[in-house]
């Protein structure tokens, strides 16, 4: 096509480009390996970022048309939005930030597929047309190949659209713009989802088979968009991390499909690695919460379950003992061993620094303090570790669930700060509970328990917590940050 004279420059040689792409995805893999340890993680992330920079520069070297204005405009817009968002977001809001970034990625995927269709859709389903530039669009067009290309492009459009809308809903729920409770059509939900999926797929097949109609393409995007909404809306807030992770994997897969459609190795490798890793992470999270991925997608968790849990709780709505900061301070000061169980409530109250102060005050009194971290404490696996790291809590004081649980029996006081469902003994004792079977921190094994909580409202999953009615448990009602600070202040007076 145009700009042929430049094509002789080695910078635009296909092999040179391929080498740069290979370097780029080599750096992605190396970067992800770095992310496997806390000491190498920062470097790993930066290595991946360097890989990305190389991939982008390599691609720009091969932009032949004079559309630089558009490229600069797009990149400038993206930078103007992305950089401040990333700089200013609070650590507690990290899950929704990830959801949002994931969403725009999915958005880019389906928009690219759409633009591609508008350029080349008239060749979908035909087998002989050759078009595209040196790298251009659909570069492999012999035999039945363009059918495959069209199929991957259509796949990318559907999955990208689902991911975009699903992520936005997840963002809305976590940001509490939308109610966290499941919003569903009840038993019709699954039928509706299925119909939407079938419609989107049917439109896709139609396009691949050669329906040269943009209306069909738009219809497909709309069905996928509705599907994205319909899948995520019925999912309760507690399952949201699993959903975000799943959508992250989806976006990766759709990026890989875009890569095949565009015959771009860097896209294929990077997208697929994300697809694979996202799937693993999704599975790990689901296991940690004792939820099966199909049942999460089928939706409605927390809806029916919450009602059940609430009625069950009615029975032991027995006595709740509340305590004061001064009493709590005495209890803690004379303990040998204290385990702090932090939860999302601690994070929202920004109490992590206050908690660290309390820890230091207790350690001065020779009290042994550690933190028990549930795998899904906070709202994503590892979220709590980030929050505590932000407050400079030493890494070796953080105990993961499997290490922490055997220790509760010899713990004098467990201090539960804004954590709820992850300590609920119902997960062990009440087969009818929706969280039955979820691994929990066995706080109830310790000699006494202090729970800092704003009110008796049930937690994110909407289930009553039996722990609060346990005779060993005392409740300290109040904002986590001020309650912890008060305890620290009282400690100084003892």
């Amino acid at each position: 096509m145009s700009a042929v004279p430049l094509a002789t420059s080695f910078l635009q040689d296909q092999s040179f480009l391929d080498v740069l792409y290979i370097i780029a995805f080599g750096l992605f893999i190396q970067g992800l390996r770095g992310l496997s340890g806390p000491t190498t993680a920062v470097r790993g992330n930066r290595i991946a970022a360097v890989g990305m920079t190389i991939a982008v520069i390599a691609t720009l070297l091969n932009v032949n048309e004079g559309n630089w204005g558009l490229i600069v405009l797009g990149v400038a817009l993206g930078t103007a939005v992305g950089v401040p968002a990333a700089r200013q977001v609070k650590m507690t809001a990290m899950p929704q930030m990830v959801a949002l970034f994931n969403g725009v990625g999915g958005g880019a995927v389906f928009l690219i597929a759409w633009a591609e269709f508008r350029r080349d859709g008239s060749t979908y389903g035909s087998h002989t047309v050759n078009l595209g530039g040196p790298l251009g669009g659909l570069s492999a067009h012999v035999g039945g190949v363009s059918t495959y290309v069209a199929a991957f492009s259509v796949f990318a459009a559907i999955v990208g659209s689902v991911s975009f809308w699903g992520s936005n809903i997840a963002f809305g729920k976590l940001q509490e713009i939308l109610p966290g409770r499941p919003i569903s059509l009840g038993s019709a939900q699954q039928i509706v989802n299925l119909v939407l999926l079938i419609l989107a797929l049917a439109a896709g097949v139609d396009l691949v088979a050669g329906a040269h109609s943009e209306l069909v393409f738009i219809g497909m995007l709309v069905c996928a968009a509705l599907l994205g909404n319909a899948v995520v809306l019925p999912i309760g807030g507690a399952d949201m991390p699993v959903v975000i992770s799943m959508l992250n994997a989806f976006t990766g897969l759709s990026a890989a499909a875009t890569g095949i459609a565009l015959d771009n190795t860097a896209l294929i490798v990077a997208g697929m690695i994300v697809g694979a890793s996202g799937s693993i992470l999704t599975n790990l999270m689901a296991v940690a919460m004792n939820r099966s991925i199909p049942s999460i997608i089928a939706g409605g968790f927390g809806g029916g379950g919450a009602v059940e849990g609430a009625s069950g709780a009615g029975e032991h709505a027995g006595t709740v003992r509340s305590t004061s900061a001064a009493d709590a301070a005495i209890q803690l000061a004379y303990a040998n061993r204290v385990v702090i169980v932090p939860g999302y409530g601690m994070a929202v109250a920004q109490a992590q620094h206050a908690v660290h102060e309390l820890t230091k005050a207790l350690e001065k009194r020779q009290v042994e303090v550690s933190y028990a971290i549930h795998p899904v404490a906070g709202r994503m696996p590892g979220h709590m570790n980030v929050l505590l790291a932000e407050a400079d809590v030493p890494y070796d004081q953080l105990k993961e669930m499997d290490d922490a649980n055997p220790e509760f029996a010899r713990t004098d006081v467990s201090l539960v700060i804004g954590a709820n469902d992850v300590t609920n003994p119902a997960a062990k004792n009440t087969p009818s509970s929706p969280i039955y079977g979820m691994p929990i921190l066995e706080v109830a094994d310790s000699k006494s328990v202090i729970v800092i909580k704003r009110s008796m409202n049930p937690g994110f999953a909407g289930i009553e917590n039996e722990l609060y009615y346990d005779p060993k448990t005392t409740m300290l009602f109040g904002d986590a940050k001020s309650a912890v600070s008060e305890i620290t202040a009282e400690l100084a007076n003892i």
Partner: protein, 113 residues
Amino acid sequence: MILASTLTTNLAILVLAGFIGFVVISKVPNTLHTPLMSGTNAIHGIVLLGGLLIVGLSGNGTFNKIILVIAIAFGTINVVGGFLVTDRMLEMFKTKPKPPPGSGEDDGKGKSA
């Protein structure tokens, strides 16, 4: 023939990349899952390249140009925002190795005097 084999080559790359993804990621400890999710999230922002490639071709109408600018902007947000936010998270882990006396391995915590 060569062109037809492009697809199979790409599929082979796809499958291998999937396995690499599984192997590399399955070693990440629980505690780093949030940064990992955020980091992989940034990497799929590589779809940005797709936008750059297509906008670089001739024959895009006005509407296509609009779509592509948005796609490029979205991809950029994904990449730049993703890496920055991951970096911020990880920096917090980095400040932590200040208790060197406690040594890396703290097997069981039953070492109270």
